[in-house]
């Protein structure tokens, strides 16, 4: 590094030496950067991949004496990380990274969604290094990711707006499901490979997942509407100890309950099936009368997302 002391006290050769050291240091930083890029692009080990992504997401490539004119945004490394992690889990073909050479940035598209959406990460500016995975067409934030705090949070509002409302009449539900399955696979990898804490929200298929409504005080008229709508489709909304229950198939049951899984008072849903493959999201795609019911009173029924990050 250049000497902080008064420059006039240095000899010419002293100045040259410290300049040279500073350049070397800058080049070393560059070399460290390319090593990390090598890891990020080539490693087959998820742990090494995560390390590289974490380091690059906060990497300062430029130094006082060495700057690099072509650089990606820090958030772009998250995209590479995501694509690579999915690739390591044999889902690489379902996702495409696009490099935009003009202003040097990356976007990602899910092949299931075609041209409908293009995703990129943006900084959440929450001082803990969190990022938002956003659709560039609608600016909807699909999930929040924080590599340092090892958490991922899906955003029910965006999932509903994009996958239930916006895309629903543009592509078939098989494609919608393969797109969300890919996002779920990414969250699942974070969970199993690194032990992340992931909230899948309305995409969660486990039976004990409590999908909490936004309203804490569900008006009985809203349940009445479901009762009438279900009856006209030959489903009976039944009385239940803790609310109401709707048997959609002999194996798939939807429950409206006034207590969450820890027993605390809250209104919300449970979706139960023996294989634990069905989520509230899948039900919304499959049953128009439930979709109408949900969207009609979305202000109350919207599934709660982690309000610390959304």
């Amino acid at each position: 590094m250049i000497n902080d002391n008064d420059p006039s006290t240095l000899s010419t050769s002293g100045r040259l030496l410290s300049y040279n050291d500073a350049v070397k240091e800058g080049l070393k930083t560059g070399e460290k950067f390319t090593d990390l890029m090598d890891q990020l692009i080539n490693t087959k080990d998820p742990k090494v991949l995560l390390e590289a992504a974490e380091a690059l997401s906060v990497f300062e490539l430029d130094s006082d004496y060495v700057t690099f004119p072509h650089q990606y945004n820090n958030a772009d490394y998250y995209l590479i990380f995501m694509s690579r992690l999915l690739e390591l889990h044999d889902k690489g073909e379902a996702i495409t990274l696009q490099s935009h050479e003009g202003d040097q940035h990356l976007t990602q598209s899910l092949s299931a969604l075609g041209d409908l959406a293009s995703f990129a990460f943006t900084a959440a500016n929450d001082s803990t290094g969190g990022v938002y995975y956003q659709d560039q067409v609608t600016n909807e934030t699909v999930f929040y990711l924080n590599l340092k705090r090892q958490i991922m949070r899906f955003n029910s509002s965006a999932i509903t707006t994009l996958f239930i409302e916006t895309y629903a009449d543009k592509i078939d539900s098989d494609h919608l499901l393969s797109a969300t399955d890919l996002l779920i696979a990414f969250g699942q990898s974070l969970k199993t490979d690194f032990g992340f804490d992931v909230d899948f929200n309305l995409l969660d298929t486990s039976n004990n997942e409590f999908y909490a409504f936004k309203t804490s005080n569900l008006a009985s008229g809203i349940v009445d509407k479901l009762f009438v709508a279900a009856a006209s489709e030959d489903y009976m909304l039944k009385h239940d100890k803790d609310g109401a229950v709707l048997e959609l198939t002999p194996d798939v049951t939807l429950k409206i309950a006034s207590h969450n899984s820890t027993g605390a008072a809250a209104w919300g849903l449970y979706v139960q099936d023996s294989k634990q493959e069905v989520s509230w999201f899948k039900i919304l795609l499959q049953y128009p009368f439930l979709r109408h019911w949900y969207l009609d009173d979305l202000a109350d029924l919207q599934i709660q997302s982690d309000n610390l990050v959304f």
Binding site: S220, G221, V223, D224, K225, L226, F227, V228, A231, M236, L237, K238, H239, A244
Partner: protein, 295 residues
């Protein structure tokens, strides 16, 4: 107590004898009741708590009995008796009336719920000691009416809903015609202006006044419509809520009707079953008792 008169132990006065027999009768009554309870002989208990009815409906005898007042001995035990007797009775009712659900709100007091669907109705009470349903009259009559309307392919609230729907359609029309009304108002105002600017001959003034009044009336009618249109959205929303309440009631009544049809085919069978419930149940208990003795 000191025994001063030894003879009194041996010979009872008529009054004492009557008292003695009365007490014996009570002891026997209570003893039989207790034995029946221990033997879980519900039939015997029913006979003991309402001897007259039992004689009339089961034994088909007209013998008047003096033991009815004995039943008063256990009057304050009725809640517990009812609680005890409910176990077998409810199990029995479950076969014939699978759509009724019972909630013991107090010892021996049972509310009847119709069905297991959302917001099922509280349909009345179960009188265990008298083996009878005490249906809520209003709810019962709605169901009866539902059956009557069924032949005309109508639901209980079909007409009501149609009326409200028509009202909402009118209101929607008022909202939709706002532009049209605005145009009309504009043209009417222009006409007014034109009339006031017209130089009128004296003998025409009556005719002009009339013309003017017609326009003013039209304008005021349009203003009323505008006013109504402003409140229309709120009114439509209220109508929607009302329709929801009525549709819900129709759905519930349909489920009730279907439940009855499934078990009794029609409402009259249901009603006649209810009337003979006491006899049917007691005879069923007698049948069971025989099976037990046969074993």
């Amino acid at each position: 107590m000191q025994n001063n008169n030894e003879e009194s132990n041996q010979e009872l006065t008529p009054g004492q004898a009557q008292l003695d027999s009365s007490i014996t009768q009570k002891i026997n009554y209570l003893q039989t009741l207790q034995d029946a309870l221990h033997d879980r002989d519900d039939r015997q208990i029913y006979e003991l708590i309402d001897n007259t009815r039992y004689a009339r409906e089961i034994k088909k005898s007209r013998s008047t009995t003096q033991t009815q007042n004995l039943a008063d001995l256990v009057a304050d035990d009725h809640p517990q008796l009812s609680h005890y007797l409910s176990q077998n009775l409810i199990e029995y009712l479950g076969k014939t009336y699978p759509f009724f659900y019972y909630d013991e709100v107090q010892d021996g007091e049972f509310d009847i719920y119709f069905g297991n669907w959302w917001d099922r109705r509280l349909f009345g009470q179960l009188d265990v000691l008298n083996v009878a349903f005490k249906f809520d009259e209003t709810e019962y009559n709605k169901l009866k009416r539902t059956f009557e309307l069924d032949s005309a392919n109508q639901r209980y609230n079909t007409e009501n809903i149609a009326q409200i729907t028509a009202k909402s359609a009118e209101l929607q029309k008022l909202i939709d015609q706002q532009d049209e009304r605005d145009h009309q108002k504009e043209s009417l105002r222009d006409q007014l202006k034109e009339i006031s600017q017209r130089s009128t001959l004296p003998w025409d003034s009556g005719k002009v006044k009339e013309e003017r009044q017609t326009i003013v009336d039209q304008l005021s009618k349009l203003a009323d419509d505008d006013e109504a249109a402003i409140n229309a959205n709120k009114q439509i929303k209220e109508n929607d809520e009302q329709i929801l309440t009525l549709s819900k009631e129709d759905t519930i009544l349909t489920y009730e009707k279907q439940s009855i049809q499934k078990s009794f085919e029609d409402f009259s069978h249901f009603e006649s079953h209810n009337l003979s419930l006491y006899a049917d149940y007691l005879n069923n208990l007698i049948g069971k008792g025989q099976v037990k003795t046969d074993d």
